[in-house]
């Protein structure tokens, strides 16, 4: 049943509207006028293809609507979706690595991110993953992810520090 509904979602001309209720929960009103309270917006490929593949899921994680891309949607809705996604996704982007405490695990990292300076603890060097196209994902001891969009763009000092983890 779910796949069918998702298929419908793709074909809808005026797909849905988003709003917040008094509790601050995200409410999605679908084409039939049905209200879904507490929905969540997710990207299917947040790292490899963030511009395609979006889903609106209900509070139980069931998929309500699938969107291949945002291009066909009206601009205000796109802005709303992007705002929601930005609120939900917390993946700081590392601009510069200032210090890595020691060669032994666990190591403490001090980094400059797009959200300011921070430090975190890395459990093991396996937690630095090299993604395709020289991107790297660092997962700290608490499971927070930090993205390095392009290893080559880092300054020489950061690159040197990062080198032994890749």
């Amino acid at each position: 049943m779910e796949p069918d509904r998702a298929k419908n979602g793709r074909a809808l001309p005026q797909p849905f509207t988003l709003s917040h209720d008094v509790w601050g929960q995200l409410v999605m009103t679908d084409a039939e006028g049905l209200e879904h309270v507490g929905v969540e917006l997710v990207r299917a490929f947040p790292l490899s293809d963030p511009r395609h593949g979006f889903a609106v899921c209900d509070s139980d994680g069931r998929e309500l609507i699938w969107l291949d891309g945002l291009d066909a949607l009206p601009a205000p809705l796109v802005r709303q979706i992007e705002d929601e996604l930005a609120k939900r996704e917390f993946v700081p982007i590392i601009h510069c690595i200032l210090r890595i405490s020691s060669a032994v695990e666990p190591s403490e990292w001090e980094v400059e991110t797009d959200r300011g300076r921070t430090s975190f603890v890395l459990d093991s060097e396996d937690d630095v993953h090299e993604l395709e196209e020289r991107r790297a994902l660092v997962t700290d001891a608490h499971g927070i992810r930090y993205l390095i969009p392009d290893v080559r763009q880092l300054d020489a000092h950061s690159r040197q520090l990062l080198e032994r983890f890749l």
Binding site: E2, P3, A6, V42, R43, A44, F45, P46, L47, S48, D49, H52, G53, A55, C57, G61, R62, E63, W66, D68, D126, H129, G143, R145
Partner: protein, 750 residues
């Protein structure tokens, strides 16, 4: 008739004439078999001959009154082989019982089997049946062999090569980099020559400058700057050439061992599943990583040093002889003694290293055994015993190393002593020559400098003896893998399957693991799109049958036809592209979920991946993960539950859109709730594909079109669920047992 004559020609000469005499007019020889044991299992040869009329036999020992015996062929005549351990038996039977039997050693099994096949083949031919000639199959390893040959290439192991030749086989890898190897050699030669210049320059420096100055108070100091300049230039040149040589040769050797690793791994991937069954993972990993690394070290360090040493020794000897032949001969006196000693000690070192290697291997296998099994060790509180076991093997390592050290510790200083003796000889002889005016002091000092270099080189050369043994052992271990043939061979004249329809026919399928036959001639036809449920107790042969259909193994006898062609005539990879498989323990590789789903078709688009995940009911739980389809799974990745992993593997199978689907206990490792979810996912997968499913829980097979009950390697019942229940056979019994289990639990609950 020409066929008979040709066949007679294949007979061993000693049987040929007599057999010809035994044949009646017009009788055609079909096949023969020479057994090599008698009924008391002594090595006595006995010939069995199959003609179109009779079976004849003749024993080698001629004492018996009638050496030839014969039985006419009737419709009930039957030949069969059986194997008990390493001695097999070929039996001739008819309705009345066993008529004759021949015993043979394991090596003859294929030939015996061929005789059996010949009889049935000939019968079929006479009845006008046009069954395709089945390929003969080696009974010991399962590899397909050409029917006329009767010998298996995979099993007929080549002679064991002596250890050194493994090293020479490396030359094949070096040949691809010939240019660089040559450059490295030239650099070595020039670098060594440059190293020999300084002592030569000290000679005139002493004799023409320093000594005349000391004696007469005058000397030509204008020459000094030339000599010192020459010394500095030689040192610089040696440095430069040494650097270039080391870099080039290290590059070449690293390249060669990388090539070797790549070749070995590629070869390993192509070997059949059977090979991996018989090997320890740790051992294979160590062969590909440690052994190639050791070879690399050998090539880049030991071999270069050795080459340099040889060159140095030859050049030094040449220079010494050219300066003063008499003194040179005196200086070289200890040399033959050292060579003789090396030759003597080498044998001892060799056996010592072999023993040390074996001890080391034993120790590693203790580790490889217990570390993965640590939970069992702890559960049974056997830590102390395991520590003891490790200690014992560790001690063996120590003792074997100790034995080596004993030899080595005496040997090394002895060589040094002989070197010093050589120097003393030069001193004594040289002083005498200086005294008698034969040579100048400068020549003597140059000699001393050369000789010191000469003997240090000899010392390092001796170490080479052990390095060679080490490296050749490594090379051997690697070539052992490279020499293995896949037991699932590629066909000589392949039939390209393309996209199959999925009709599977089993024709008298037999399969042996070693000498134990686990499938005894199964016949079954599965129509395209049909779902078959395989039912039966553990060890009945269900998984074996699936392994055969996937071509992880090849049948020992009979054939599996897909869309009317023998699966052995398809190129393995092309055939397997048509097969999707979902196993009990889904294996996820390290990587993202999207990569895992697209494992069988890496070029699949993201839309296709999402579609497959949806159909496998995996989409929603994937969306719930923090990185969605980009979440990492596999070792050290996101941990997923058994049901979730299973749905990913179902999506993986869905994505390749296979014609034949194999489900091997796909739902048995999850709880009933999850099973229901997986079941819905599976239904999307099964739809329209030829499916063969194994399940212990009979409820999972309700959708099956037919159930096939296998017991002890035979198909005992075939039919639909209710038909089989009505029949009241094995299936009904199994079903009843499971129902009892369910209701029994319910009864407890109330």
């Amino acid at each position: 008739m020409t066929g008979t004559i040709k066949k007679l020609g294949t007979l061993p000469p000693k049987w040929r004439d007599e057999t010809t005499r035994q044949l009646q007019a017009g009788e055609t020889l079909l096949a023969w078999f020479e057994a090599d044991l008698n009924d008391r299992l002594h090595f006595v040869r006995e010939l069995a001959v199959l003609t179109d009329r009779r079976v004849l036999t003749c024993r080698e020992d001629r004492d018996s009154a009638a050496p030839w015996r014969s039985w006419p062929l009737t419709d009930r005549t039957e030949l069969r082989t059986d194997e008990h351990g390493s001695a097999g038996i070929l039996e001739l039977r008819d309705a009345s019982g066993r008529l004759a039997s021949w015993r043979f050693t394991a090596g003859k099994a294929t030939e015996a089997h061929r005789l059996v096949q010949k009889l049935s083949g000939w019968r079929l031919g006479r009845q006008g049946g046009d069954r395709k000639p089945t390929m003969a199959v080696c009974p010991s390893c399962g590899a397909a062999i050409t029917a006329d040959e009767g010998r298996c290439e995979a099993c007929a192991a080549g002679p064991i090569r002596p250890s050194m030749s493994a090293l020479f086989r490396l030359a094949a890898f070096a040949r691809q980099r010939f240019g660089l190897v040559l450059l490295g050699f030239v650099l070595t030669l020039t670098a060594t020559a440059a190293g020999l210049v300084p002592p030569y320059l000290t000679m005139p420096l002493l004799d023409n400058v320093l000594i005349p100055f000391q004696e007469k108070g005058t000397g030509d100091f204008s020459l000094v700057k030339w000599y010192l300049g020459g010394l500095a230039a030689a040192a610089l040149l040696e440095w430069l050439l040494d650097w270039a040589k080391t870099y080039v040769l290290a590059w070449v050797s690293e390249r060669i061992s990388a090539d070797l690793r790549a070749r070995t791994y590629a070869h390993l991937q192509r070997l059949s599943v059977e090979f991996f069954g018989g090997k320890r993972t740790g051992d294979l990993i160590s062969r590909i990583s440690n052994d190639t690394e050791r070879l690399c070290n050998f090539l880049s360090i030991n071999l270069i040093d050795f080459g340099t040493d040889i060159l140095m020794i030859l050049m030094t000897a040449g220079i010494l002889l050219s300066i003063d032949p008499v003194l040179a001969l005196a200086a070289l006196v200890p040399f033959p003694v050292i060579v003789w000693m090396v030759a003597r000690v080498r044998g001892r070192l060799l056996s010592g290293y072999r023993q040390a290697g074996a001890a080391w291997g034993m120790m590693t296998s203790v580790l490889a055994d217990t570390i993965p099994g640590i939970r069992v060790v702890k559960a049974f509180a056997q830590e102390a015993r395991e520590i003891e076991r490790f200690d014992a093997s560790n001690e063996r390592v120590f003792y074997s190393a100790n034995r080596l050290n004993k030899v080595w510790s005496l040997f090394s200083p002895t060589v040094t002593l002989l070197t010093t003796a050589g120097l003393l000889v030069v001193w004594g002889f040289g002083i005498q020559r200086v005294y008698s005016g034969g040579i100048k002091v400068g020549v003597l000092s140059a000699f001393i400098l050369y000789i010191a270099r000469f003997y240090t080189r000899i010392e390092s050369m001796i170490r080479m003896a052990s390095a060679v043994q080490h490296a050749s052992a490594s090379a051997q271990r690697i070539f052992e893998i490279l020499d293995k043939h896949s037991t699932v061979p590629e066909p000589a004249r392949p039939v390209h399957p393309g996209r199959l329809r999925g009709r599977i026919e089993l024709q008298g399928v037999r399969f042996k693991y070693g000498a134990r036959e686990v499938l005894h001639g199964l016949d079954l036809t599965v129509e395209p799109g049909e779902m078959i449920g395989l039912v039966g107790p553990s060890g009945a042969g269900k998984s074996t049958l699936i392994n055969l259909i996937c071509r992880f193994y090849d049948v020992s006898a009979g054939a599996i036809l897909v869309d009317g062609s023998d699966v052995r005539s398809f190129p393995v990879e092309e055939y397997r592209r048509n097969i999707g498989i979902v196993l009990q323990e889904p294996f996820l590789f390290y990587g993202t979920i999207a990569e895992n789903i697209a494992y069988g078709r890496p070029e699949a688009s993201r839309e296709e991946i999402v579609k497959a995940a949806r159909a496998a009911r995996a989409h929603e739980f994937i969306l719930r993960l923090p990185c969605g389809y980009d979440s990492l799974v596999g070792e050290r990745g996101q941990s997923l539950s058994g049901g979730e992993r299973q749905r990913i593997s179902i999506a993986r199978a869905l994505l390749i859109d296979p014609r034949i689907l194999i489900l091997d206990e796909a739902t048995s490792s999850v709880d009933t709730e999850t099973e229901r979810e997986i079941q819905t996912a599976l239904e999307n997968l099964i739809c329209g594909r030829t499916t063969i499913a194994i399940a212990h829980r009979l409820s999972t097979l309700r959708r099956a079109d037919r159930l096939v009950v296998v017991e002890n390697g035979n198909i005992v019942e075939i039919g639909r669920h209710d038909e089989l229940l009505e029949e009241g056979g094995i299936y009904a019994r199994l079903h009843q047992a499971q129902m009892d289990l369910v209701y029994g639990r319910d009864a407890d609950g109330t």
